[in-house]
Point group: C3
Chain length 217, copies 3
């Protein structure tokens, strides 16, 4: 696809992911009790944290330095979610968190993989894959650590594997079918979201041969 159009598309994907992550962060920490400032700070950190780590490792300016609207969008989504939170029932919120988060991680993973690919960092595989995953889950990990929640790495939910599969698929497309980068990004985003949605609704966990159960003592 035309490179300018792909960059443009990438920006919209990033904006949608930012809104999703700020929203899901505030919904996730609200049940523990929090004030507007803490919620907004965690919303912004969740939305920009993964991409900030990625840019620091890439040794490029952090993306929000020249695109400050990402901070404003994350702050705005956080404040709106903070006040909307009390209007929603607990059960509905829990489902909303899972789906909005699934949208966020699929968008961020693929957008970041594309950015790293264009910059040619640690090519062709390790750079786009590791930084794609870090961008997708880094903000959420920082949020959970700061909020005192268990991080997703210690959960058996099918979470990170869908992200990894989507990134690998997109890297293969960028390598072998570069003309199909736009369609490929759509398919890869859809793959991650579909696997996450299946995991949520079927309560899918990682199969037993890929997991160790907690031990007493």
């Amino acid at each position: 696809m035309n490179e300018l159009l792909m960059d443009n598309w990438s920006s919209w994907v990033h904006i949608a992911g930012t809104l999703a992550f700020a929203t899901t962060a505030v919904l996730a920490v609200a049940p523990r009790g929090i004030d507007l400032f803490g919620a907004t700070t965690l919303g912004i950190i969740t939305a920009i944290g993964g991409g900030t780590i990625r840019d620091i490792i890439l040794q490029v300016p952090v993306f929000w330095a020249n695109a400050q609207y990402y901070i404003w969008l994350a702050a705005g989504a956080s404040v709106i979610t903070f006040y909307a939170n009390s209007l929603l029932t607990r059960k509905y919120i829990n489902m909303l968190i899972l789906h909005v988060d699934a949208i966020g991680v699929s968008l961020f993973a693929i957008q970041a993989t594309h950015k790293v690919w264009k910059l040619g960092f640690a090519m062709p595989f390790i750079g786009p894959l590791t930084l794609g995953i870090i961008t997708a889950i880094g903000g959420g990990l920082i949020r959970d650590v700061l909020a005192g929640r268990q991080t997703l790495l210690m959960s058996r939910e099918l979470y990170a594997i869908p992200i990894m599969l989507g990134c690998v698929l997109f890297i293969l497309i960028l390598n072998y079918l570069p003309a199909y980068d736009f369609v490929g990004s759509l398919i890869s985003i859809a793959l991650i979201y579909a696997l996450r949605a299946a995991a949520i609704h079927k309560n899918l966990t990682v199969p037993n041969w890929m997991a160790i159960s907690p031990k007493e003592n």
Copy 2:
């Protein structure tokens, strides 16, 4: 004010903040039991952590690379506090932590806002504000995460809002009254400290309409 004098003043502010943060870090973790090395490490991390994150995001050399005395000062203050800790009563220590920390955050927030302003990062508002706040609370957040304490983001105490107000005031002065940068920095530091002191002595918390209470289940 003369630029050289302002830089000089900024250094003294930074030194005083470093001593305050190392002291308060050791007092805060001591009740859990800790050894001299752990206490000194946490004292140094608290004192230089926020500024280190700021400099990494700014893509400039970390400030302590060419001003190693910041490490020595933080280490010295940590060791002295470690041994002085047992001489103080619990109640006195608790009050001391709050006030010394209030001094530290007000000094760090305004000094960092000034540094970012001079470097012209993400101007005129987002850069100085976000990095001012990160410098003021970043070291304390890392300390609390490493020590297994609840971070301030999950507390309803009036903590971050005073910092934010002080940074905003100083940014407005730098924008519209640049000739008054020195007096402006004094007023902004005083504002943050006064609001924190009021919060400490009146047990001020964030008002109800800006907070969500913890939910059962």
Copy 3:
């Protein structure tokens, strides 16, 4: 020693440390229950985390960008350990964790001190010492925070002091006996490992005058 040989030796030290850290990370988090992806991610983070922070502070490209085999080695060691874990008894694993970790920290601390020394960062003392310690314990700190474990900074075990002593010894050798850098690195690695092994088998803790006991309330 010939500089090329020393660099070569440094690479092998780094590789051995990487395998040790990935192994020990997976063994440490396995008792809490974890899946293959979480274990591998924590294994990789533990193995490359400290060195990544070091390189970011040094403002050089992260070491694994141009040496991607570090990621593959850490991933491979993590997967093998994940499946080998169930074959080992708990008591044997606990002892293995301690010794393999002791090997890892001694190798990483000395290799990093050497790298920072060659780059001339914050010389002659603060840079090599602080970044040597950060490289040795940084990955483990991130692992413990992400896994919800108590970090070593809050433990009275004799852990960080051996690392510090080894780094100081190696810095002194690099300063005053630069011709003996190779032998010096061996002696410094052996010193750290010997002190750690003594601490493990004699249950050595930090002496009372260097520690504060936990206080009730």
